[in-house]
């Protein structure tokens, strides 16, 4: 039987897909081939933007490598801390429910508002952090030293998004089968060995998923940088998304920003695919 009417049912979904995913991508590609800015319209300039990007814009590549460093560092820290916290409240401890809710609070807050609060904390002359540290003769330049500014961005990102990792890993831990743990207990395995040889391998699939989701999110880091440092001092905390934002919405170089966005998208698809393969190989080797 030929159910031609099935296409009628497929159409709404297809229409939405074209409208919200395919059309914007096609438009970005078209935009990237134009010199659309404050003085030119949607003209056609061929690959000029891409040539400029690959041959004459070291700032984009610097911001990309900076982003890679920031996202990998923050995600590793989030994974380690998130796993530790999830492991802690997975067991029967006092105030277990209270801690489970407490650890989730940072994720429930609005990132921009929390970053403003963090900026106030780290304000070098008026903030409470340096006020306390000055009692010990220290006054770190949290936002104005090129290295420490990166550390500050990492601290804020880790604080904000560790709960997400915590949530996923706790869900994973709660869904683990009890039998392997019972077997390990009968064998007299120590807590460390139990973790290394039972918990961690069993958690590998969900760990890979959590890390990839966070890597995707972390690679878009923008609001924290925008509010905390505006990419400064100098360009020391400028990330790809912040740089694209500057070029597109501050300088109104829409065509060029589109070419950077599209290039960035391709790089991210390739690198995340490679990362998934590597992680799967490393964590699921058995």
């Amino acid at each position: 039987m030929n159910f031609k009417q099935k296409y009628v049912f497929l159409f709404p979904g297809l229409f939405v897909l074209i409208g919200i995913l395919i059309f914007p991508i096609i438009f970005v590609v078209r935009l990237s081939l134009s010199g659309w800015n404050s003085y030119n319209g949607l003209n056609f300039i061929g690959l000029e933007n891409y040539i400029r990007l690959f041959t004459d814009d070291p700032r984009f590549w610097e911001s990309f490598f900076r982003l890679s460093f920031l996202s990998v560092t923050t995600v590793i820290l989030q994974y380690v801390i998130g796993f530790a916290l999830a492991h802690m409240v997975w067991k029967d401890i006092k105030f277990q429910r209270f801690f489970r809710v407490l650890f989730l609070i940072p994720m429930m807050t609005t990132p921009v508002i929390m970053t403003v609060i963090w900026r106030t904390f780290f304000h070098e002359s008026l903030g409470p952090v340096n006020d306390i540290l000055s009692n010990f003769g220290m006054s770190p330049k949290w936002l104005t030293d090129p290295v420490l500014a990166k550390v500050t961005v990492i601290i804020v990102e880790v604080w904000q998004w560790t709960p997400f990792m915590f949530l996923l890993l706790l869900a994973g831990l709660l869904s683990l089968p009890k039998e392997p743990f019972l077997a390990a207990a009968i064998d007299g395995a120590s807590p460390v060995r139990k973790f290394l040889y039972v918990t961690f391998p069993l958690m590998a699939p969900i760990s890979i998923g959590a890390i990839i989701i966070r890597l995707i999110e972390a690679s878009k880091i923008m609001d924290t940088v925008y509010v905390l440092t505006s990419g400064g001092p100098g360009t020391s905390t400028e990330t790809s998304s912040f740089y694209i934002f500057i070029k597109g919405l501050r300088e109104f170089q829409m065509g060029y920003a589109a070419s950077m966005s599209f290039t960035y998208l391709i790089i991210m698809i390739i690198s995340l695919t490679v990362i998934v393969k590597v992680l799967t190989k490393l964590m699921l080797k058995d």
Binding site: S38, L143, T144, T229, G232, T235, L249, R250, E251, F252
Partner: protein, 512 residues
């Protein structure tokens, strides 16, 4: 006798009722914002606006976030609605998004807002989409009071596209209780061998700021610092850099361009004048408060206005904030022209001229225009005229965070500040004299107003911030900026930039 008394009373009553003062009181009672002055007669006064009927019409405005300019926009919108019956929708947008929020629909041929607020240096990019200010308003009593330089800033080649609502320039603010204090002067002399006075040059500024950095010189138990400046990347820092550059690089004997050589369109931005200024600025990182190299305009206003630093330079806001009733340093601050330099670069002879030079920087400020495609242009211009009428303008000037600064000739009367704001007479005098002298100067620098202006200013912000962060030397940083400027000129088109720049150069060379 009784008859004479009755007649006299009747005459006095009728004079009071029908004189301008009488309706001033009436409007002052109804609108507390203008209580201090009441209505002030003019083409766009409260009295005149109350005669308009815009019932059933809607005016859409995109303005800055509150409080700066956003608050007066909303307040005057509410007043305008009450007086005319119009419906006024006000949208508030962060400063960094004002340009794109108007430009994107402009480019798409739409006009979602009848009135768009932005900065005066947007004029070149926006003018194609804005309606010129009609003759009726050009001839209004309010407009006739606007200073020549602010008419110039709001206009493009003789046509006014932006309605003047604000006047901006950068000048020096200093702690009068320190600089004019004989004990401090003695101490400074003893320690440095130099005079403590309002700095005439940026080098003097640096020496004094360094001396007064990091100790409690006002006895409030807190450490104070040398200078508060806008150094945060992409947060108006390019304007602060230009303020420091004008003394070294704006030579009255070399007309034909401060930012570029108008004939060749070769950038001047990396010449020794600008490099010297950036060198001074890098040095300034040693005498700003902790975290000072991440200060945006708000931080600068808070820092100087809160009594944390000896000096500051930028827009009026920090000065007005320092002079507000709740300020710990009210009547302890002074205004003076931007410091100068003992030598100025001559880009024609490629050499330094060893003579004193000072140049005011008439920096860009808030500007507003009416969309060409608006269907309620008359109402929109009436609103703008009402926004800046005499009574509203005087009341707005007194509120530091409103962001409305002097741009009318009548604003330079010190009595306004003495009588309505409680300023000391010598401070009001020095403030108005500083502003007035800038208006009269023949060596002024106006903001860059060329197509793609943001690309140019963004390149300056990136380059100078790299120098401040120690990533590059001043010369390397400005060479990078110059290279980027050359690339932008090529992208935009040399002729387009040159033609637009010529208009600004005419103003700087006093030919317009």
């Amino acid at each position: 006798m009784k008859i004479i008394k009755t007649c006299l009373t009747a005459v006095i009553s009728s004079v009071l009722m029908f004189s301008p003062m009488a309706y001033a009181d009436k409007w002052g009672d109804q609108f507390p914002h203008i209580k201090a002055t009441g209505d002030i007669a003019g083409d766009c006064s409260y009295e005149e606006m109350s005669k308009k009927n815009y019932k059933g019409k809607t005016l859409k405005i995109n303005t800055h976030a509150v409080p700066v300019i956003g608050q007066p926009t909303a307040l005057h919108a509410e007043q305008f609605a009450k007086l005319t019956g119009a419906k006024v929708d006000v949208t508030h947008t962060p400063a960094g998004d004002l340009y794109a929020k108007a430009m994107v629909p402009f480019k798409a041929g739409q006009a979602p807002y009848d009135i768009v607020f932005g900065f005066s240096n947007f004029i070149n990019d926006w003018k194609r989409y804005l309606a010129p200010v009609p003759k009726k308003y050009m001839n209004s009593t309010e407009m006739k009071d606007v200073t020549k330089s602010h008419i110039g800033v709001s206009s493009w080649d003789g046509t006014m596209y932006q309605y003047p609502v604000d006047g901006d320039r950068h000048y020096l603010k200093y702690r009068k209780d320190v600089i004019d204090n004989p004990e401090m002067q003695k101490k400074y002399k003893a320690d440095t061998g130099k005079e403590l006075r309002v700095p005439r040059t940026w080098k003097e500024y640096g020496e004094m700021a360094k001396y007064f950095n990091g100790w409690d010189w006002d006895g409030d138990g807190e450490k104070e610092y040398g200078s508060a400046e806008v150094m945060k990347k992409d947060d108006l820092m390019f304007a602060a850099f230009f303020s420091r550059s004008v003394a070294y690089a704006k030579n009255p004997r070399t007309p034909g361009g401060f930012f570029f050589d108008l004939d060749t369109m070769k950038p001047n931005i990396n010449n020794p004048g600008f490099v010297e200024a950036l060198g001074d600025w890098v040095e300034a990182t040693k005498y700003v408060p902790p975290g000072g190299i991440n200060f945006g305009l708000g931080d600068e206003i808070g820092s100087f206005g809160g009594g944390q630093t000896l000096f500051s330079f930028s827009w009026d806001d920090a000065f007005i904030a320092a002079m507000q009733d709740d300020s710990p340093i009210k009547n302890k601050v002074g205004a003076a022209p931007l410091p100068g330099a003992d030598r100025v670069w001559n880009r024609t002879s490629n050499s330094w001229e060893n003579q004193y030079n000072q140049a005011p920087y008439i920096v860009w400020g808030w500007a507003v225009g009416v969309a060409k495609k608006s269907k309620v242009k008359d109402m929109a211009f009436d609103y703008l005229c009402f926004f800046s009428n005499g009574a509203n303008h005087q009341a707005d000037l007194a509120i530091g965070n409103f962001g409305v600064n002097p741009f009318k000739n009548s604003d330079f009367d010190p009595n306004i500040y003495i009588n309505t704001m409680g300023w000391d007479a010598d401070i009001a005098n020095s403030y108005t004299k500083t502003l007035l002298d800038m208006e009269k100067s023949k060596n002024r620098v106006f903001p860059l107003r060329v197509p793609g202006v943001f690309e140019f200013t963004s390149a300056v912000a990136t380059g100078t911030s790299k120098a401040l962060a120690g990533q590059l030397s001043p010369q390397e940083a400005l060479d990078e900026v110059a290279k980027e400027w050359e690339a932008i000129v090529q992208r935009v088109g040399k002729k387009a930039v040159q033609d637009a720049y010529a208009v600004g150069v005419k103003m700087e060379d006093n030919k317009l």
